[in-house]
Each structure stands twice: as structure tokens, then as C-alpha cells.
């Protein structure tokens, strides 16, 4: 009976198992093998040992440039996203009129497709006729050329990222709902004011959710691609050439599939490394209410 049930179970999960094996595990392992090959879509791939990895670190300055860009973006966008997400969640947790409307409004941008958001922001940040510079002109400031400026292109993308903070805001809101009311009551009895309640009750109790969003945000930031591809194509002067974008160009413009696979594996190792560091750090600042 048990064996028959097992068989039935396997039959039912087989689409997922086969899908995982064929479409995830196989490409995963194939890309590892390809990273030691030169492969330009014309079979067979030709083994070149560690050449691709050597090239990355010694012969391709754009790898370093793209890594610097991605670190810059991660260091700015992830913390800013957390601060904005938590801040908005705290504001929208208050008992005010029309709360559902506000929550919907702030959440809405995060369900707009990334490409649509990017096109919208190209217009908003247009130096001549864009809304941002038009508003700045009203207060007497001649705004920069944003996406066309080496200095402002990355901050523009960070700025735009904040717009899509609604998704994480929703998770923070759920986290806020999970904090037992008794903790606040105890704090009030102890004479804590509003700020102290946020600082010593809300934030510590929210750290597991913040930790989750930090890890997911960091992974997402390291893979940052679509917006840069649509809006700047890596320019001006490679200032928005992010790692995943560089990888994409190497693979699909210059047909260096082996080299791009090596880049993907290095990115994988970096992301795993940073995630491991975050996990190691969590005992210092993440409170699970135990």
C-alpha cells in the first residue's frame, strides 16, 4: 500500500521534478561546465581550462567597473529601500481614515511591470521636458541631465528603485501585525513614549522581517538588470553597466557563452558569500522574540 502511495506521489510530482531536473539542475551544471570552455553557440564547446576566470580578473576591466557599479547600487538602494519600506509601513499601520486607499496607492507601483516603470521614469527624468526637472525649475534649480549624466545615472536608478518599495512595505505591515499588543501595553506601563516604543519594541520585533528583506533585496540588487537595459544600456561611460548587464552583453552581443557562464558563477559565489555573512551576523541583531 505504502509503495503504491509512493508511486502515486512520484507520478503526481513528476512534472515539477522533471522540470527542475531538466530546466534548472541541467542548465546549472551545464553552465558550470561551460564556464571552463569557449562556446559561441557553435558546438562543440572547446575546453580552455581557467582562461575565462583568468580573463575576468586580469584582462577585462569592465568586470571591475560593473562590480563597482553593482556594489554602489546595492549599498545605496538596499538600505534606502529598508528605511523607506519600514517608514511607510509604520505610517500606514496607524489608524487613520482612508488607510486602505493609501496602502493601495503605495503598493500600486510595485505591481507595474518593470519595463513599464522604466519607460515611465525615462520620461520623468527627461532633462528638458521631464516632470522632475520641471518641478526643480519652479524653485529655481536647473536639474542635472539625470540618466545622461555620469554622476547622476546611478543615483537616478536608486531614486527610481524607492518607487517600487510597496512590495516590501506590505511584508513589513504583515510583520507589524504579528507583534503582540501585550508588549506595547507593557511598554506603556513602563512609561515608554511613542519613539521609545518604536525603537525598543517595534524595530527589534520587526528584525526577522527586515533580515528577510535585506537578504532578498541584496540578491535582487546583485542581479540588477532590466531597468539598466531598458533605460541606459549601461551608459553613459559604463556608469550603469551593472554586472548582470555586462554578463548579458558578453553572452548575447559578443556570443561569449563560456565567459558569461564564468561570470555567472562568480556572481553566484559572491551572492552566496554575502548571504552567508548576513546569516552569520543575524545573531547580533535579529530577534526572534525568544
Amino acid at each position: 500500500m505504502a509503495r503504491r502511495n509512493n508511486l502515486a506521489g512520484w507520478v503526481l510530482v513528476s512534472p515539477v521534478v522533471v522540470g527542475l531536473l531538466v530546466f534548472t539542475l541541467y542548465p546549472f551544471l551545464a553552465s558550470l561546465a561551460l564556464s571552463f570552455c569557449e562556446y559561441d553557440l557553435f558546438p562543440p564547446p572547446r575546453g580552455v581550462g581557467a582562461w575565462n576566470y583568468e580573463t575576468m580578473f586580469t584582462r577585462d576591466p569592465l568586470v571591475w567597473k560593473s562590480l563597482t557599479n553593482v556594489l554602489y547600487y546595492t549599498a545605496l538602494a538596499v538600505p534606502l529601500g529598508i528605511v523607506m519600506g519600514v517608514g511607510l509601513a509604520l505610517l500606514l499601520d496607524a489608524k487613520i481614515k482612508g488607510l486602505a486607499v493609501y496602502r493601495t496607492l503605495f503598493f500600486l507601483p510595485s505591481i507595474v511591470p518593470v519595463v513599464a516603470t522604466s519607460v515611465l521614469w525615462i520620461w520623468l527624468l527627461n532633462p528638458q521636458i521631464g516632470l522632475v526637472n520641471t518641478l526643480l525649475r519652479l524653485v529655481g534649480i536647473e536639474g542635472p541631465t539625470w540618466l545622461a549624466s555620469v554622476a547622476w545615472s546611478k543615483p537616478s536608478l536608486v531614486f527610481m528603485g524607492v518607487w517600487g518599495v510597496g512590495g516590501s512595505m506590505l511584508i513589513y505591515l504583515a510583520g507589524l501585525k504579528d507583534i503582540p499588543a501585550s508588549l506595547y501595553e507593557a511598554a506603556v506601563v513602563d512609561g515608554a513614549n511613542a519613539w521609545q516604543r518604536v525603537r525598543y519594541v517595534t524595530l527589534p520585533m520587526l528584525t526577522p522581517v527586515i533580515f528577510f528583506n535585506l537578504v532578498m533585496g541584496m540578491i535582487g540588487a546583485f542581479q540588477y538588470f532590466t531597468q539598466a537595459y531598458v533605460m541606459t544600456q549601461g551608459g553613459p561611460l559604463d556608469s550603469t553597466r551593472f554586472y548582470a548587464l555586462h554578463l548579458f552583453f558578453e553572452a548575447f552581443q559578443y556570443l561569449k557563452m563560456g565567459y558569461a557562464s564564468a561570470m555567472a558563477w562568480v556572481l553566484f559565489i559572491i551572492v552566496v558569500g554575502v548571504t552567508a555573512l548576513l546569516f552569520r551576523s543575524q545573531h547580533r541583531w535579529v530577534h526572534y522574540g525568544r
Binding site: R4, A8, P43, P127, P236
Partner: protein, 464 residues
């Protein structure tokens, strides 16, 4: 096991059997869909040999292509060309070629010939025709048409229409400024002086009309007498003094009017597509653009007064010089029906009968591949309807037209050249330094290709 459980478990078994069969049938169906199924297609002549033709044109252009294919199909009874618009054609063709199922021929406009030919993905067209025919064709073709199809002594792509660039200008602005529109500058220095007079600003100093601002270094290399690659030494020659001179001129012009100001002004303009080309709305008094604008202007701005002149050379530079690219047709190396594909390409390009091809070129507003096509009465009638087109024909025949050098890293080369120009314009590096850095990187990329295949890729790619 009790008596009562027996029928239940049998029923269950039966149920699982039915489900299993259902899943198996679904799996077989999906496999059939993925591997074996071929959608029915409309064939007018199912008995003929099929020639699969992929191209990148849509809407009206696709209709022009369809008409040319129909003409070919009606002209003989052996082949049937089946055209298909394919988006993202380059990558799809490569994947189809490496998977062993490429189209028989394909139209392209991306610079793929050297890169694909170096990988053995293309059929040399000169091997599909008798040696005398190839020699005759090579001698008849416009220089740029020949050069764009060549890679290491073989001919891989037959043009179906080239692009060259000339200066479009608005005579009314000349007159408003007290200038004579019949006297277009004969040197680049005169053009600069004219540009200064045609620029317009508002009271806050913002640009409201551009006189002439050069962008895209590649367009000016030829007229300055520079070059990007030396096939004899196999060296990238971005730092050729003439190239440096060209980039210094571009940056000096941008500095004069303010690079940021120009960026700001141009960012507020409409797209450059057809009817919304900012030249029509008066954003530019003079602008360098391609021959396709002539027909667009006739269609979308028939009342607009404009003229076209070849870019004047700088002192010591080359006249009637510009960069050229274009559409061309290629035959992937694994194509099943190469003979049919070549017959179709000859028919379209007028290799055998220029008068017939002249008609096709007028349908698309394309520049032909040989002077015979251009001289055909049909094409001359087209030029009489669109007299501005003559300036482009004049440039097309010039030996000073350059195409992107046939190196297998063309895409990379062009991206680095654009980077160098941007770096110089933004004063990130001097023009010389920017070109030096881009040359170093491109040369390294060329040398990086010299690995792997059959142990010595360097030899195969003929890269030093």
C-alpha cells in the same frame, strides 16, 4: 486485508491507472508538439523546392519583401521562396544554425558577417557562382557594397540596399540669417562657421535650434582620411592621427555650444522616427542623416523646403566620404537549399538583370548595389521623382566611402569607439587618450579570440 478493502483498493488502482494513462498521453502530446509538429503553412506551389527566407522587416516593408518574393516565384518553376519576419533574427539564426536547422537565406542589417564567417556559420557566396561571374560582379559592385560583404578574401553577404549619409539643410533658415542657400560650404571649416550663425538660443541661453553638431565619430573618420583597422598588420588603428583630429573636432564643436546644453535640448525632442524627425519641426538647421529620409519627407512633410549636400571635407580631407552600412542577405552554412537561396538573391539584387532589380529598389527606396541598376531607366525615373536622392547616389559611387572594418569583434569595436567619443565629449579623457584606451581594449578583445578552437584559433581567425 479484509474482504471490504479489496474492491476499494482495486478501484484505487484502476483510478491511478487511468490517471497514469492520462499523464502519459499528455506527456506524449507535449513531446510531439515540441519535437515533431510542424504547423501547416500556405504554399502556393507545394511541388516546388522550398526556400526559407527570414528577414527583419515589418508592416509596409514586409509587404515590399512579399512582392519581391512573389515576383521571384512567378519568374520560374523550380523554387518557392517562403518569407518570414523574424524578430531578434541574429540570435535565432545562430541558434538555428548551431542546431542544424537554419533558414536557407536571411536578410540582416547588423554587422554580423565577419563574426559569423569567422565561426564558419556562413556560406561564401563566391563559391556558389562560376569564377568569371564572381569576378565580373566584384568589379561592378559599388566599393562599399563589395567591402561590406567581404571577410578574408571571400564574399558572404549580398547587399539589398546600402545606407550613406549626407547633410540635410533648411534653406529658409539660411535666408533668415542672410545666407545664400545655393552656396553650401565646400569645407568643414566653412560648415562650422555657418553652424555658428544658424544656432539659436532663448533669453535664458537655452538652445532653441541647432546649427550643426557632429555626433558619432564613425561618420567622420572617412572624411578626415582616417581608418579603424589595418588589415596588413592586423592592428586596431583608432589612434591614427586623422581619427584623433576628427574626435578633437567633434569635441571642440560640442565645447563651443556646450555639451550639456546640447544633451538637454536634444532630450526634449521627439523621436527620430519618420514623421516625428525633429528636422521637420525645425530643431536642426543642418543635420547629417541617411537617404531613407528623402522618401519619408516626401510622405510626411511634402511641403517642407529642404536640400541635401554631401558632407564637405576638412582641409586636406577626402570629398564624398562617409561611413556606410546596409541590409544584406546571407546563406547560413547549414542551409538545405543553397542553390535556391542564391537564385533568389541574384534575382533580387539584379546580378543577372539590373533593369528588373531597379524596380525593386524603387519600391523600397534603397540604394542599389551596382551602377547598372542605378542607370536603369526605372531607377532614373525614381530619382527624377525624388531629386534629393541623387546626392546619395553620387556618394555611393565614391571610393571614399568606408564600411566597418571586417574584424570578428565588430560589435565590440563599435561599442568601444562610441565609449571613446563619449569619454572625450564629457572631458573624462582627452580625445587621444580616449582613443588609445578604446584601441587597447579592442586589440585585446581581438587577441582574446585567439584561443581554443582546434588548438589554434589565432591562425583560424587570422589574428595576430
Amino acid at each position: 486485508m479484509s474482504d471490504e478493502e479489496e474492491p476499494t483498493s482495486r478501484r484505487r488502482l484502476l483510478l491511478w491507472l487511468v490517471r497514469g494513462l492520462f499523464i502519459a498521453a499528455a506527456a506524449v502530446g507535449m513531446l510531439w508538439l515540441f519535437l515533431g509538429y510542424e504547423p501547416p503553412e500556405e504554399r502556393r506551389w507545394p511541388g516546388r523546392e522550398k526556400v526559407v527566407f527570414w528577414h527583419m522587416w515589418t508592416s509596409n516593408w514586409a509587404e515590399v519583401v512579399r512582392r519581391i518574393c512573389d515576383r521571384f516565384n512567378d519568374s520560374q518553376d523550380r523554387y518557392e521562396v517562403v518569407p518570414l519576419t523574424v524578430f531578434g533574427g541574429s540570435l535565432k539564426t545562430l541558434i538555428a544554425t548551431s542546431g542544424g536547422d537554419p533558414p536557407d537565406c536571411m536578410a540582416q542589417w547588423e554587422a554580423v558577417i565577419p563574426a559569423w564567417a569567422a565561426r564558419g556559420a556562413l556560406t561564401p557566396l563566391d563559391t556558389l557562382m562560376p569564377a568569371e561571374e564572381w569576378r565580373a560582379l566584384r568589379d561592378r559592385m559599388y566599393p562599399a557594397v563589395r567591402d561590406i560583404g567581404m571577410y578574408q578574401d571571400h564574399f558572404y553577404g549580398l547587399s539589398t540596399g546600402m545606407n550613406v549619409w549626407a547633410v540635410y539643410y533648411r534653406p529658409e533658415y539660411f535666408r533668415q540669417t542672410g545666407l545664400d542657400p545655393d552656396k553650401f560650404p565646400e569645407t568643414l571649416e566653412e560648415l562650422d562657421a555657418l553652424s555658428d550663425r544658424l544656432f539659436q538660443y532663448d533669453k535664458d541661453g537655452r538652445i532653441t535650434r541647432i546649427g550643426f553638431t557632429p555626433r558619432w565619430l564613425v561618420h567622420y573618420i572617412a572624411t578626415f582620411g582616417g581608418s579603424l583597422y589595418d588589415p596588413a598588420t592586423r592592428q586596431i588603428t583608432f589612434t591614427n592621427p586623422k581619427n584623433v583630429e576628427a574626435l578633437e573636432w567633434i569635441t571642440s564643436r560640442a565645447d563651443r555650444y556646450g555639451f550639456e546644453r546640447i544633451l538637454q535640448f536634444e532630450s526634449g525632442l521627439s523621436t527620430t522616427m519618420a514623421a516625428s524627425w525633429p528636422f521637420i519641426s525645425g530643431a536642426y538647421a543642418m543635420v547629417l542623416d541617411g537617404q531613407w529620409r528623402v522618401e519619408q519627407l516626401a510622405k510626411y512633410a511634402p511641403e517642407l523646403e529642404y536640400r541635401v549636400a554631401p558632407l564637405p571635407p576638412p582641409k586636406g580631407g577626402k570629398p564624398l566620404a562617409c561611413w556606410s552600412n546596409g541590409n544584406f542577405t546571407i546563406i547560413p552554412s547549414g542551409a538545405r537549399n543553397k542553390a535556391g537561396a542564391w537564385a533568389f538573391m541574384r534575382f533580387w539584387s539584379g546580378v543577372d538583370k539590373p533593369e528588373r532589380a531597379a524596380e525593386f529598389y524603387t519600391w523600397g527606396g534603397w540604394l542599389p548595389i551596382t551602377p547598372d541598376v542605378a542607370a536603369a531607366p526605372r531607377y532614373q525615373a525614381y530619382c527624377a521623382t525624388y531629386p534629393h536622392f541623387r546626392a546619395f547616389l553620387q556618394i555611393m559611387a565614391s571610393p571614399n566611402v568606408q564600411v566597418t572594418p571586417p574584424v570578428p569583434v565588430q560589435a565590440y569595436m563599435m561599442s568601444r569607439l562610441t565609449w571613446a567619443e563619449d569619454a572625450a565629449l564629457r572631458r573624462h579623457l582627452s580625445p587621444r587618450e580616449a582613443l588609445e584606451q578604446a584601441a587597447r581594449e579592442t586589440q585585446r578583445e581581438l587577441e582574446n579570440m585567439g584561443i581554443g578552437r582546434e588548438g589554434n584559433r589565432k591562425e583560424m581567425l587570422n589574428v595576430k
